[in-house]
Symmetry: C2
């Protein structure tokens, strides 16, 4: 049985940014409250509470700063056109959070615990859900190790936190293709590592390539596998899809790739639309050859932040390979419209993906 969530409301609500502004950006503003819960070995998860958003006080020897036990999730609450609020496939985030926790030798949450906490917190701060098309309330649950000790072993104490951030449209003028840089040196993850977990460790080593991509005029990194540096893994922090000669391909989950919630939903939609979609290893060479042969019809990334992100072209060493004349592809557009339509309640959710708050 879950413990009741204690509530301490803020006496000083923040001035809200212009929530109708598409310039909200991503993760720049935070709502009035946050959810906290502690874990102690022997006692389990305890003291779930909602408190005013405030700094965390952590011993400088807290293990998270030294040995990286830190996992998170990313999800969104959407304001529907009828004024309600809803979540998109929160059960899948809960399942993935527990898989991430397990990989990092951290204690799992109890069934329903994440969803209950998210619903309660979003309800308290529901005025922070923006209404304009393309905006949403980004939800960031995360767990960090808080034991103050330097032995290299799993922590005996953890803190589970959820914060909320009203976010703008990922693309300020709707869907717009982005260029990506195929990374030849650095890698994101490897078989036997933490690539399939949503953990801080996967992002830390990826920043250098992200900086390099920006310098090359690209907005994201296209990651290749660590073993052969040949097979495509992800794009930035999104899963990636290629449409070649009417078939859609996405890298199979080999252990080093994150299993995206949006990836799963896109594959279900394609299946429903009778568009063949195959998850298998895809080499960069295969994609470049399809581009040269004129059969690479479109490419796009999928993730909670951008939903669908069309890819305008790939930079690889001294080449640049444009895709679909750098235009948004028909399939990318249809997927984006359908996904965001379901999320905002404009399209009836026949899939059971949404949960009202």
């Amino acid at each position: 049985m879950q413990q009741p969530i204690k509530m301490e409301r803020t006496g000083n609500p923040k001035a809200k940014p212009a929530l109708t502004d598409m310039q909200l950006g991503f993760g720049q503003y935070f709502s009035d409250h946050m959810f906290l819960m502690d874990y102690t070995d022997g006692q389990g998860w305890h003291d779930p509470r909602i408190v005013p958003y405030a700094p965390l006080m952590l011993d400088p020897a807290s293990m998270v700063f030294h040995y990286g036990q830190a996992v998170f999730e990313g999800m969104k609450a959407y304001r529907t056109t009828d004024g309600e609020a809803q979540l998109f496939l929160p059960e899948r985030n809960a399942e993935r959070l527990n898989r991430s926790l397990e990989r990092l030798s951290m204690p799992p949450l109890e069934p329903g615990q994440l969803l209950n906490a998210v619903r309660t917190l979003v309800h308290v701060d529901q005025d922070w859900i923006p209404r304009q098309e393309g905006t949403s309330l980004y939800i960031r649950p995360f767990v960090i190790a808080t034991e103050a000790a330097f032995g290299v072993r799993p922590s005996s104490r953890y803190l589970f936190t959820i914060v909320l951030s009203p976010v703008g449209a990922y693309f300020q003028e709707g869907l717009q293709p982005v260029d990506i840089l195929a990374e030849a040196q650095d890698v994101r993850a490897v078989r036997g590592g933490t690539g399939s977990a949503k953990t801080a460790a996967n992002y830390a080593g990826a920043l250098r390539a992200q900086v390099e991509a920006r310098a090359a005029g690209c907005s994201q990194v296209l990651w290749l596998d660590a073993l052969e540096r040949k097979y495509i893994e992800e794009v930035g922090s999104m899963n990636v899809f290629f449409r070649i000669a009417g078939h859609v391909y996405t890298p199979s989950l080999t252990g080093s790739i994150l299993e995206g919630v949006t990836r799963g939903a896109v594959m279900e939609l394609l299946d429903d639309w009778d568009v063949p979609c195959i998850a298998r290893p895809i080499s960069l060479d295969e994609v470049l050859e399809a581009a040269e042969a004129g059969t690479l019809e479109e490419a796009f990334g999928t993730g909670t932040a951008a939903v669908i992100s069309p890819i305008g072209g790939i930079r690889w060493k001294d080449r640049f390979i444009p895709i679909n004349g750098r235009q948004v592809g028909d399939l990318s557009q249809k997927l984006y419209d359908t996904m965001t339509g379901i999320q905002r309640g404009l399209i009836r959710d026949v899939y059971g993906w949404t949960t009202r708050i």
Copy 2:
């Protein structure tokens, strides 16, 4: 020019643990003060200060919790037999810290900044340096990302912290061989990743194997390379050496292995002693074959925490391969005595490795 370090002394010194006690453990107690310094884009490192040891206050959106920008160093202050205090090769820690920072897209420290901060802090808390043989004051400098935002990019703000912990002998009864488990599934790092940086990310994914090793009666993990799962990389968080038929071998620095300060000093000692020491790729098969042929004379790990850690045997799948009859080898003993002798001022430091505080 470095900014002067502001000083705020504690009004409530802690009760010290029994500093002569070999049961101090590792990283369980922390001294009265800590060093802090901030970094802000455009302003650089600023406001170096020593303050009473206290929790850090960090926004829950601080990037360190989410994207893992966190690097650290490990060094020790030793009480010499004439009552002075000294550091061991601190310049190499400073160089490595800057290499780690660079890999994680974090700003480097200025030359001399780490050493100056360490000297000043250790001087303030010099009463915390234990005196008993085998004990020392462990020094943990670390840098974390503190900007509160969720975009995946390098932080614009960082916090540099140093804390001190009196630590006991790593082995309670002097040198004692430990068994290690060669890990068949998980990997620590891969070429193109962060393995050569001292960053939290390398430890996070390694904990699962460490738990597995403990369950198998071993105290450390022997890591194999991620590409072929064939070549030896490190043991736990130490570098590793094998003595085979009179020659000493240690894995070469391929980009996925940490360049240990103790590793470097051991190689210099061996060179000085005319013991052939070769850094090159070493396969686990080669070590197991040498063990079967009777030419594997000894094996040991090197690191700041344990200095020299003799290896009693290797567990690999369903086999257990004892080394040197599970006794401390002659070379391990001589290296340990020489290293700790120099560190404690019992042996004259002809190498220029030590720095008085």
